[in-house]
Amino acid sequence: MDYLWLKALHVAAVLVWVGGLSAAAFAAASKGSADEPGRIALLEGVRHWDQRVTSPALLIVWGAGLTLAVQGAWFPAPWLIIKLAIVLLLSALHGILSGTLRRLAHPDAASPPSWLHHAPVLIVGGVIAIVLLVVVKPL
């Protein structure tokens, strides 16, 4: 596939993924009990979006991203290695959020771990670092 088309696919998938990841983080981090009206419906809605849109977008992010790195001969540039490490951490955070949403969508669920309340900040920080690394390529 043409490099620019692949890059466009990668960037589009990243935008969809980060949007869905942020929604999942805010939903999981939001305080409230399961018997609050509308809470279960909100969590279920975010979980369905995560299953049908955000998770497939993550697969496209990885597939297209690694292909771009190979096609563009970017390995082993330090900025790319650091970026990959951040994406790995964000992907793991996505997995944890996704599992937590599945758990929280049930009335008798235990509350999520307290550190997950910082997930939105971690995502914003990770995305800023990735954009700086990719655009400026300081290393």
Binding site: G95, I96, G99, T100, R102, R103, H106, A109
Partner: protein, 110 residues
């Protein structure tokens, strides 16, 4: 566990088993077909295709494992066993059996 919770858990276990089988199968294809083709017949394209396919399958498998365990209901020792098996070659098949047993237990409890 409520019926909806059980249904969601069963669906997750089914998906995780499928991804485990895909990960294990792509590793076997890579090791038993692609690598011999490369070294014995000089066909490099097999590893060039199967290498990234297995890499992506491993990423999906590890991600699903994190997602499954984060859903709760797993003890520390069970989680540790799943993670260790995920890191050894063909461990996905061991995990698939463990997941199948858990699925059978949940189905029996219905």
């Amino acid at each position: 566990m409520s019926p909806q919770q059980r249904a969601a858990e069963l669906m997750q276990l089914r998906r995780m088993r499928i991804v485990s089988l895909i990960e294990g199968s792509t590793l076997l294809l890579l090791l038993l077909v692609a690598v011999p083709l490369k070294h014995l017949a000089g066909i490099f394209v097999a590893t060039r295709i199967m290498g990234p396919v297995h890499g992506l399958a491993f990423l999906a498998y590890t991600w699903m494992l994190i997602q499954t365990v984060s859903g709760g209901g797993w003890s520390r020792s069970q989680t540790l066993r799943l993670v260790i098996a995920a890191l050894i070659p063909c461990g996905a098949f061991i995990n698939e059996r463990a997941l199948a047993r858990r699925q059978a237990m949940l189905e029996a409890a219905c």
